[in-house]
Symmetry: D2
Subunit: 118 residues, 4 copies
Amino acid sequence: MADSLDELSARLLAFARARDWEQFQSPKNLAMALAGEAGELLEHFQWLTEAQSASLSPEKQRAVAHELADILSYLLRIAERLDIDLIAATHEKIAINETRYPAARVRGDARRASDYQD
Amino acid sequence: MADSLDELSARLLAFARARDWEQFQSPKNLAMALAGEAGELLEHFQWLTEAQSASLSPEKQRAVAHELADILSYLLRIAERLDIDLIAATHEKIAINETRYPAARVRGDARRASDYQD
Amino acid sequence: MADSLDELSARLLAFARARDWEQFQSPKNLAMALAGEAGELLEHFQWLTEAQSASLSPEKQRAVAHELADILSYLLRIAERLDIDLIAATHEKIAINETRYPAARVRGDARRASDYQD
Amino acid sequence: MADSLDELSARLLAFARARDWEQFQSPKNLAMALAGEAGELLEHFQWLTEAQSASLSPEKQRAVAHELADILSYLLRIAERLDIDLIAATHEKIAINETRYPAARVRGDARRASDYQD
């Protein structure tokens, strides 16, 4: 994992330990917390047009940055609890997607994998 | 941002561009996709006990790693679209949380910030 | 609660009991399952424009109807477990919203409650 | 649809119209709002044990009831926009689940459909 991600992950673990919060941080609970933050992220965008979502006010931009931070924090905590190398897993998953969605075939056409049929 | 996160982010951008998918990747749509992946993560854990969620079978562990990868991927895409430095934002947010949840006060007691009252 | 909602709720309870699944259906777990279904709902819409989301193909329409059904099912299960009258709670909440968002003030302007400031 | 659900749905439509909010209520946006509320529901339960989630304080019980109300409200709005009969769709989906999860086979064993293999 990256130096800076490692550093973040260590800081988050220290934060949890200083508060005796590791006891609450099962992968199950952390997944809920992550999904809760994803819900907060949605709330920032739900009544905006796509174009508006791409040009936020500085205040909104900062609020969104903090939601992304919360999501990354829970992601790192889950990865630590389950001993998952997040960077390696993501490269692996991208490689899978490169096979699943060949550029020549899906160009300009974004659908769920399950919506593609042969 | 970290070297390895930068590299991941660049790979994800190249993946999207090769498929002409940037047109679909407004922050709004990416937030939905991220939340959809968070939902898939939940589905792995919803009927497990907390203890079971901490000791997954290798097969399940790999599936969970790929869900985390999907979430990180959308997180990086949103950050790129909105020009947010994810690592810096997360350090900033942790600093805020350190003030909001003083270790001496919240030790062993995890609640929503809104559930703490003075 | 409505006759037809009562009937649905009873059918869902019988379904769970016949499978000995009540043991898994804590409010916590049911909330996760509901959020997982909400994530599946998002996945149907994430790459569509708003206009496209309002005119689905018959096949997609049916798939969305079934996602809504799953969400309603978990909603009814949680309400049953916590002894909440869903219809009464919703009327109560609408009354609160009528006060919180006075028509004269918010006309044509949809934002999060927290985004309105005075 | 049930009398009382019909009545709720009509009240919610009137609420939206009085505020000129129908313009924002595309199925896509409503799905996001619903998922956002599902995220808020999760936040009530994420650090509780399953047992704690089943015996809430009166104050928390009321807050949860209002989250369920928000979810039902968005569910009814989506169903109205897409002309879906929520009660009929749910009975249809339960019938499918009765076939997919035969009681004799899955008794006491709750997993994702995709986790069952033949």
